[in-house]
Symmetry: C2
């Protein structure tokens, strides 16, 4: 890539890549052919009941510093690292989350890695993929329809319409649906009540889908979903409505993980996709464990920075699935660290070691976070074309001074080749024993668990609960739900609950404004700050650039 030639966009690179037939990828991955359900030529669903063996591959988690508008390239590094290990003749699979159509049409335009470190077919993965999110949307909204029908048909369960906590969802960014009233129009049109729509990735069913270990476990979890309370404040679950079977049936096909390939032909399972700022932010346990049966090394990612996705990966997903990760990669870029040091996005091109010196504190917190879990991180310093030698030297020296492993990556431009240095470091780490442990025990009080997360992962002073949250906690304790893990809903932009506090804020207190029991997922969602569970579209949505060209190819995904 020279500076005089306009670089190709991600969709252009993806459209030019030659994909191998998915059955070839499956064969390479050791998947029996009768387990492969093709969805077109280049995608498949895998019947996991036909994949035998023990799930014993080593797990490498890719996380990142606190994201900035400058971009860090976590998915890109995840894919590039897998390709690098593949180039080094390792038995490797990558296990990722599926993109949500809402942000694809909003700001992002696509979410399948970038440059020469992408998963393919880019277009289909970014749009409907194999219908998994549609199935989750449908199951979620079918439950809503069944709840409202129950109210309308006599309300035998005595559900208080004002205390229904189950919301509808769509896989779109649609702020006008955040707060709605439904059931208007008179006695034939249902029971009027307040409701709201979340984005599908925030649905408890998305979390359940990603935490279920089998179709029967899925059904048991769906049955436990708390949908609200009766007029006399008794909890009402999906089991009380007797519709867990129908919801399971709607999700049955989707529960098989999706096989695709990277540009370099490394097998990839992409399945499930909760966001890490409003949910637990990890791909499905079924996909991760299937990959662990097939390969020796599995690379996976968790959403946003280590304070969000990685914390939940380690405290929730690893606990549920019963595995210990072998290494954690923290993706950072010089551009993003400069933003954490106070540089505006428009000023990032200029060298600025001073800003880097300030902003690197953000990376320091993420390194500390990983170490608090008993794991030794490897920093992936992901190259951007404007990085200067002085800036790079500063970060490498900082890493040396802090005795933390670091590797430079250039996977966007070079694919797997640009991740070889990182791969070698990671291979060293996974050969060493580690002292992995969760940060809290389930039997600790909710406040103890919250405090540990805030102090040991966010670097803050502690938590306070609003009166509303305290009242909810009382209900939770009364019902014996307080021994569940915590799923924090927090801004991704700051280690604190204030999006504007970049770098490494200290002495802050996190406000918990709501605690929502997700009994099916098996965690307590703790909402902080003004975290949105339904995003809005920007003034110029990415949708305005999307199109189908005369030759039928996709335009505007990038």
């Amino acid at each position: 890539m020279t500076t005089t030639t306009k670089p190709l966009t991600d969709i252009e690179i993806a459209n030019e890549a030659t994909m191998k037939p998915i059955v070839e990828i499956a064969e390479k991955a050791g998947i029996p052919l009768d387990a492969v359900e093709q969805y077109g030529r280049f995608k498949a669903k895998i019947d996991t009941s036909k994949v035998v063996g023990d799930a014993n591959a080593k797990v490498i988690l890719v996380t990142a510093i606190s994201p900035t508008p400058a971009g860090e390239g976590k998915s890109t590094v995840t894919v590039g690292l897998a390709d690098a290990l593949y180039q080094l003749d390792k038995s490797v699979m990558v296990a990722l989350r599926e993109p949500s159509l809402g942000p694809v049409m909003g700001v992002k335009g696509g979410a399948t890695g970038g440059g020469y470190a992408q998963v393919l077919p880019m277009e289909q993965i970014n749009l409907h993929f194999n219908g998994d999110f549609h199935a989750i949307t449908t199951a979620n909204n079918a439950l809503s329809a069944l709840i409202d029908n129950h109210l309308h048909q006599g309300n035998v369960l005595n559900i208080d319409p004002r205390r229904i906590i189950w919301k509808r969802v769509l896989d779109l960014n649609d702020r006008a649906l955040r707060h709605v009233t439904v059931g208007l129009g008179g006695p034939l049109q249902g029971v009027p009540r307040e409701d709201g729509f979340d984005i599908t990735v925030a649905s408890e069913i998305m979390a359940i889908f990603c935490l279920a270990t089998s179709i029967q476990d899925l059904k048991e979890r769906l049955k436990r979903i708390l949908i609200g309370y009766t007029y006399d404040r008794q909890p009402v679950t999906v089991g009380d409505l007797q519709v867990e079977g129908a919801l399971t049936l709607i999700l049955k096909e989707a529960l098989n993980p999706n096989l695709v390939q990277t540009i370099e032909g490394t097998p990839a399972l992409i399945h499930g996709g909760p966001f890490a700022n409003i949910a637990h932010g990890c791909n499905s346990i079924i996909a991760t464990q299937t990959a662990r049966k097939l390969a020796d090394i599995v690379i996976t990612e968790a959403g946003f920075g280590s304070d969000l996705g990685a914390e939940k990966f380690l405290n929730i997903k690893a606990r549920e699935a019963g595995f210990k990760p072998s290494a954690v990669v923290i993706v950072a870029t010089i551009r993003a660290l400069k933003m954490h040091g106070g540089v505006a996005k428009t000023e990032l091109v200029a060298q600025n070691v001073e800003a880097l010196r300030v902003g690197i504190a953000n990376l320091a917190q993420h390194v500390a976070n990983v170490r608090n879990f008993g794991l030794e991180p490897v920093i992936a310093l992901n190259r951007f074309i404007t990085d200067t030698e002085a800036e790079i030297a500063f970060v490498l020296e900082w890493a040396q001074a802090n005795e933390v492993r670091i590797a430079r990556t250039n996977v966007w431009e070079e694919g797997g080749k640009g991740g070889i240095e990182l791969a070698k470091q990671v291979l060293e780490v996974i050969e060493q024993p580690n002292d992995f442990h969760q940060l809290y025990e389930l039997q600790e009080t909710v406040e103890q668990k919250l405090t540990k997360i805030v102090q040991q992962v966010y670097g803050g002073a502690g938590v306070i609960l609003t009166d509303a949250a305290k009242k909810q906690l009382t209900t939770i304790e009364k019902n014996g739900w307080d021994n569940l893990p915590i799923c924090m809903a927090k801004t991704q932009y700051s280690l604190s609950d204030q999006p504007s506090l970049l770098g490494r804020p200290t002495d802050f207190v996190v406000t918990i404004r709501e605690i929502i029991p997700k009994l099916g997922a098996g965690f307590l969602v703790c909402l902080t700050g003004d975290i949105m569970t339904m995003p809005g579209l920007p003034k110029q949505p990415a949708a305005l650039r999307m199109d189908v060209a005369e030759d039928g190819s996709a335009v505007g995904l990038f």
Copy 2:
């Protein structure tokens, strides 16, 4: 089947059937292998750009008498007739609509034919199929989100929020969403306004999807969609919002028709699925025309009785696609005709020739309807186990007296073999020339077109427009949209607009209460009576019976 053995249910028969790999079905149908995109082993999407040849197969339309709770079995006869022609060594394909999940979870439990005349895989076709309806739901709601975002971001187009006619949709029966308010919660949460959800099959995008002849035609139609009016009453279209490209991209994959098979291995294309009581009720033109390139005879159906689906098939779809049907089959059962003669559902087992004599008037109107289009119908008298010899004799004699062809079918129990008599009659009809013509010309006035439909298809006296409808008609005429065909929204239960008027009502006047221009679909939807565009769930929804068994198989679809 003896009366002492419990007959198998549809899902049991479907689960026991042995399916051929879909590539084998494709080969048999003459579809080039590079046009086949497998979706699992037994479903495929067909890349129609790779299917060459002229669309010149003869088209046989299957319609029915006015439906009753007794059931007529139109889809079953459609499938059975195709299988019978296949048994007679004819080159035949069947082109059907996709089921909507709303009614599947509501009352129906499934919609893929019945007994030994089914399309397979029954479970997947009844659930998400290949994601087509999900794509339509997503495109529809993405447009809503983009409209509400436009209002929120400054409303440059000056759209009047009170005059937005574009509604959201879900593929569920959910009465609580019929009338909603959105955008509540303050200035950061959008612009408050009244809105409502229709069922996906009622979306204009569903109609567009079924009438589009290519991806570029789809885009042009999407661009023309009228979404509302400005404060100074000027029409606002999707083209004004510049999002037709994004909507087309969302629908691109879905626009390829879906190949499946009948129990007897006859190739079937199933694609699109508007309801005939709230939309035009026919499968996609792309699927029908693709089938017409591949086979010599194409069997297709249109929703409900000939007053609804067939009228629109002949006046709208055949006009848009530019073909002439070669035969029309009218499905009737003795049970249903007895209900039209006033017998209650609980009394249908007893012989009742007198009721039949009254109820057969309904069949007479449907025969007259088909003849009014210049076509000669064949009645399929679809066997039910309680039919008596005297009842059968009465219907056969009636047909002889009225000089209308009739054939007995027993396809539920016997598959294609039970449709041989019908197939032979149909083969005779399609060899004869016919005088097919549409009932109205596009340049006639809206009132003339409406009157012709009511008089010549419903057997009524005429129409009246409410004041609201008259006002809408003035706007339509002012904008030059009055030269579009009519898409009546009317109850399926009666030839009139009153669901309780069974048999063959006369002298009734149909009230048009609303006229909605669907500029993308290219027709004017005329709402009569209390026709619902979003169904509700019954007290005991079919969802309560649905489940996944221990062995992973589907339960409760039938």
